[in-house]
Amino acid sequence: MARAASTQRKVTVTVAAWIVSLIIFFPILWTILTSFKTEGDAINISHFFQTAWSIESYFEVQSRSDYFRHFFNSVIIAIGSTVLALLIAVPAAWAMAFAPTPKTRDLMMWMLSTKMMPAVGVLVPIYLIFKTLGLLDNVWGLMIILMLINLPIVIWMLYTYFKEIPVDILEAARMDGATLGKELVYVLVPMAVPGIASTMLLNIILAWNEAFWTLNLTAAKAAPLTAFIASYSSPEGLFWAKLSAASTLAIAPILVLGWISQKQLVRGLTFGAVK
């Protein structure tokens, strides 16, 4: 009796959860479906599925405006800014986690507070500095900006991971005569790799999707996908399938990365406040 009731309950909850999740996912699903339609099918929305599957839009997106250059801009900017941030953040987080001083806590808080600065507050000077230095529409300039805006998150996330590495192990290694360098390479790094990897994933996601600086500091040459997709905001004839194809390509890699790293995401995005 009780089991029948609980099975019935599970069925109801399952159906409800699936309906809600499909509604939430629908815009993405619809975009992917539309990307495989012809332009004619794409605007004929009374038919949910297409009459024929077509990959023509994908080719058109590429031939129309060299899609893959923007794709590679995104890759270079996302990965470059992440590597730069890690180079600066790993030593800092290590120092703060294993050799804390009375000031460490204030320092961490101050770093976090730089993240609160609204981008518009510094848009004007950054724009003018970039203009003077010839960094506008330049992949390297953007890489540095994205490194700076994500640096506090990277340091924080690494710090919360490093904090969980038992200090005893480091001391045991030191007792055995390991130098600081050896301690770092043989003891700390292997234990820290998972934390560094998830920090890296989260930062790539954030950099890939960043859409304030990428829109304001790039034009045709260095535009990553965020800015390239924005160029579709002024429609030209029938472009629904092409827009969908460009969008699908732009979100697919990061959707996969995001799904892989969803568990670590919570901790990174809440600065360790929710685990």
């Binding site: 859409a211 827009l243 732009a250």
Partner: protein
């Protein structure tokens, strides 16, 4: 444990991060403050000069400013209400035993990974478009006249798009918090015959309070800076109907080339964000001690 040698080394190791963040925070901000007191338009560089608070006066008395501030607040509060309430409900639903929980979870969090320009364009053209959008199709099927979302309800449309992007974030964090609720505690209260409403009010909600606070504060930081969603959908219009503070500053700086006025707007945005930031820092700081 820390010897003098390690302490020196620790200092050297954290120095680069402190220096770059310090430069990044101070230099542009001081420049923004400086420009905000200048008359400086890139179109008329010869007419530059120190004007004290004139830019602030013009900016603050501009009717667009008042509307931008109120739009900013409506946008933040609207999205917060939808995502927090929706996030709690969704988290409660997904916390139940269901078939295919893993897949459902993936579907629900997916919108968070979609870049803002893509989500805004997809909503604009595929869902909200008055002719070829899904909403128009649903309306027509039901015999109702399709709504032209972006021209008739611009701010509401931006709120809906942004809420769709942030609902997964709220759900994911609240679900994580919910799953850490002690099973025994839940069972005990069920044994005691507490109904769902009581359990929700006395056990679940207090347990979620910290996560809810974190969601509200972090979302606020990002929502104060919403830009791309407006940039690709309404361009702040019609008129100033969907212009928020970041978009207004962008228009002043990069479309009107008014460096002074835009900087004054930037300073105001910084002040606004700082009020929120003070609260966030306190909360996160408390969690550090815990």
């Amino acid at each position: 444990m820390a010897t003098r040698q390690t302490r020196t080394l620790a200092r050297i190791m954290s120095a680069p991060s402190i220096i770059v963040l310090f430069v990044w925070m101070i230099v542009p901000l001081v420049l923004t403050l400086w420009y905000s007191l200048q008359r400086y338009n890139l179109n008329y560089p010869e007419r530059a000069g120190f004007v004290w608070f004139r830019n602030y006066y013009f900016f603050l008395t501009d009717p667009a400013f008042i509307q931008a501030i109120s739009n900013t607040l409506i946008l933040v509060i609207g999205v917060l209400v939808i995502t927090v309430v929706g996030g709690i409900l969704l988290a409660l639903l997904l916390d139940q035993p269901i078939w295919g929980q893993g897949i459902v979870r993936l579907l629900v969090i997916a919108p968070f990974f979609v870049m803002p320009t893509v989500s805004a364009l997809v909503w604009k053209n595929m869902l909200m478009h008055p002719q070829y959008g899904i909403f128009a199709w649903i309306s027509t099927s039901l015999g109702i006249k399709p709504v032209s979302w972006l021209t008739d309800y611009p701010l509401l449309s931006v709120i809906i798009i942004t809420a769709w992007e942030w609902l997964p974030f709220a759900t994911l964090i609240l679900l994580t918090a919910l799953q850490s609720l002690d099973e025994d505690q839940k069972e005990a209260s069920e044994m005691d015959g507490a109904n769902f409403i009581n359990r929700f009010i006395y056990i679940i909600l207090p347990h979620l309070s910290r996560a809810i606070t974190v969601v509200i504060l972090i979302e606020t930081i990002f929502l104060l800076g919403i830009f791309a969603e407006i940039f690709v959908t309404t361009q702040g219009g019609p008129g100033y109907a969907s212009t928020n503070l970041p978009f207004l500053v962008y228009v002043q700086a990069l479309l009107n080339y008014d460096v002074g006025g835009a900087s004054a707007g930037g300073v105001i945005a910084v002040i606004l964000a700082n009020i929120v930031a003070i609260f966030l820092i306190r909360i996160v700081g408390k969690n550090l001690d815990a």
